[in-house]
């Protein structure tokens, strides 16, 4: 379990992480969602003790990371795939890290096999593609067979097959009872992998809930209605206190429960061709939620 209390990081005047308090629990994939520059990587670096918090603290099962007996057995992390000396082979990169925690040599071969790099294990990693580098980073994270795994934007640079592989890997790791903490700036990716969500923007916690709750809470529920007489139904909806917008021949009704719309139509003898819920996509919900906290807005207006 990862536990952060009032975690804060300042760089000069800029606050990168602002009073974050959260827990990441075992047995599930916890998504760490936020736009670029929201403070996700900085938070992960503080969990690993790479950066010191300006204030607050973060612990792994109650202890700071640097106090753990065998850090690699407790936490494995892929922060960026470039944390590698390119002149060293994949095998020796993993070996020198394994030796620090007294891990056996066979474990190096095992993780190379898991990530599918056995064939290139003796090649220098500077020749690796982005995807291969990412796999080597994941092998590094798995080396100690740790109880907690952290991945910072793990699908970056992976091909579709690789993306599917890492998704399944994260789910199976969580199913084994491990703590899996994965960051992304893509809501859609999180919807597919995460059970729980921590959403941050500009270093602040915006939401801490399950993925389901996040969708329910943030999607604007509307109803799409098709009927033979749209104008008549629109009038009835407005009288009943709802709003109705004509959209490609269908009415999009908000502020009126779906069953109420059906009853209205039935009472007034209107034929319904469609009565369906409209959910805001996760992407929309996320953008709605973080629109005030996006650090870098694009300046190109859509035409």
């Amino acid at each position: 379990m990862i536990e952060a209390v009032g975690l804060t990081k300042r760089y000069g005047d800029r606050v990168a992480v602002d009073q974050l308090s959260f827990t990441v629990k075992p047995g599930q994939v916890t998504g760490f969602l936020g736009p670029n520059g929201a403070g996700k990587s900085t938070t992960m670096r503080m969990i690993l003790g790479l950066d010191a918090p300006t204030s607050g603290r973060v612990t792994i099962d109650g202890r700071p990371f640097a106090r753990l007996d065998n850090p690699m057995l407790e936490v494995g992390a892929l922060l960026d795939a470039k944390a590698i000396h390119g002149g060293r082979s994949a095998y020796h990169h993993l070996l020198c890290l394994a030796q620090t925690n007294n891990l056996p040599r066979r474990r190096v071969d095992e993780v190379l096999d898991i990530v599918g790099l056995t064939a290139v294990a003796r090649k220098r990693s500077k020749g690796f593609s982005l995807g291969m580098g990412q796999r080597l980073g994941i092998a590094t994270a798995l080396l100690g067979d740790p109880r907690i795994l952290m991945f910072d934007e793990p699908v970056n640079g992976l091909d579709p097959e690789g993306i599917l592989w890492i998704r399944n890997l994260m789910k199976s790791l969580a199913a084994e009872g491990r703590t899996v903490f994965v960051s992304s700036h893509l809501m859609s990716e999180m919807a597919l992998t995460a059970d729980h969500l921590l959403v941050i923007g500009r270093g602040r916690m915006i939401a801490d809930c399950t993925v389901k709750e996040f969708i329910e809470r943030n999607s604007v529920l509307a109803t799409r209605v098709r009927t033979s007489d749209a104008a008549a139904l629109a009038a009835l909806v407005r009288t009943a206190g709802g709003t109705a917008i004509d959209e490609d021949g269908a009415l999009v009704v908000t502020d009126l429960p779906m069953h109420h719309i059906g009853d209205l139509a039935f009472d007034h003898g209107l034929r319904l061709h469609e009565l369906a819920p409209v959910q805001a996509s996760l992407e929309q919900a996320f953008m709605e939620l973080t629109k005030d906290s996006v650090e870098y807005h694009g300046t190109l207006e859509p035409r």
Binding site: L50, A83, C96, L97, N101, D145
Partner: protein, 268 residues
């Protein structure tokens, strides 16, 4: 989840890890091979060429060379070797920052002072072994080359100490550079700094006037350290050979202390 390790990750694991790191990048092997080839091979060859033309040299030159037999066979090899040792020393830490490897290293073992000390220990042992091997090889190769005209032996006064001292000088220089690399954290910048200090600043201090200028010059890190491989001292020397090495070691210890403080407190 199997139990992979049975005991706390400690200093011995770090030592093995740092040794693996050193031996598995080609730059280490190539640099050391180049260092041996140039300082032993090339300098012996130059010595051999000079000896072949011995009779054409003036008697003053002959006397100068005979008075300082280690000039060709120890001083010159050390002068060349120090450049490579400085670069290797700087890279022990700076290469980790330049490549990003440091983040993997500190994730595997976040107890930072132990990480730095392991680097220092492994590199010190390697540099001591390489430095002594190199200086003794250079000495025996040179002695053989010069044997016809300049007889020199380990049993001559100050010779054994100087040959041994050359290896020690290179070891301390390696650690001095390592500390520099850990402070600057940028390979090119740290190399420029160390070489600038060794080759330029140290020599420029000779221009400082008066007694204090002489003291500053004598106490500069490598100026003091170089005394370790001088069989005889100049009459105006302010430090003895061992004092010189002690001064250089003191500077190195100071830099290592600064490096350790920064290594522990800075964000990686």
């Amino acid at each position: 989840m199997t139990t992979l390790a049975t005991r706390r990750a400690g200093f011995d694991g770090l030592l093995r890890s740092e040794w693996t790191k050193l031996r598995t990048v080609r730059s280490t092997t190539w640099s050391l091979a180049a260092m041996a080839a140039i300082s032993v091979g090339l300098m012996s060859f130059i010595g051999w060429v000079i000896m072949r033309q011995w009779s054409s040299l003036s008697s003053e030159d002959q006397a100068l060379m005979a008075a300082e037999p280690l000039q060709i066979i120890i001083d010159q090899p050390v002068f060349i070797s120090q450049l490579i040792v400085a670069v290797l020393g700087v890279m022990v830490v700076s290469a980790e920052y330049t490549t990003g490897m440091i983040r993997s290293t500190l994730q595997a073992q976040p107890r930072r002072l132990q990480v730095l000390f392991a680097k220092v220990a492994v590199f010190a042992v390697l540099m001591f072994a390489v430095g002594e091997l190199l200086s003794f090889t250079a000495f025996f190769a040179g002695r053989w080359v010069m044997s016809d005209h300049i007889p020199v032996d380990l049993t001559d006064p100050g010779i054994a100490r100087s040959v041994f001292g050359a290896g020690l000088f290179l070891t301390v220089l390696g650690l001095f550079s390592l500390a520099f690399g850990a402070i600057v954290r940028h390979t090119a910048g740290a190399i420029t700094g160390v070489l600038g200090l060794i080759l330029i600043v140290s020599n420029l201090t000779v221009l400082l006037p008066g007694s204090w200028g002489a003291h500053v010059h004598a106490w500069m890190p490598t100026n003091a350290g170089q005394l370790a491989f001088k069989p005889t001292l100049p009459p105006d020397a302010l430090l003895t050979q061992w004092q010189g090495l002690a001064v250089f070691s003191g500077w190195t210890a100071l830099l290592l202390a600064v490096a350790a403080y920064l290594f522990k407190t800075r964000d990686a």
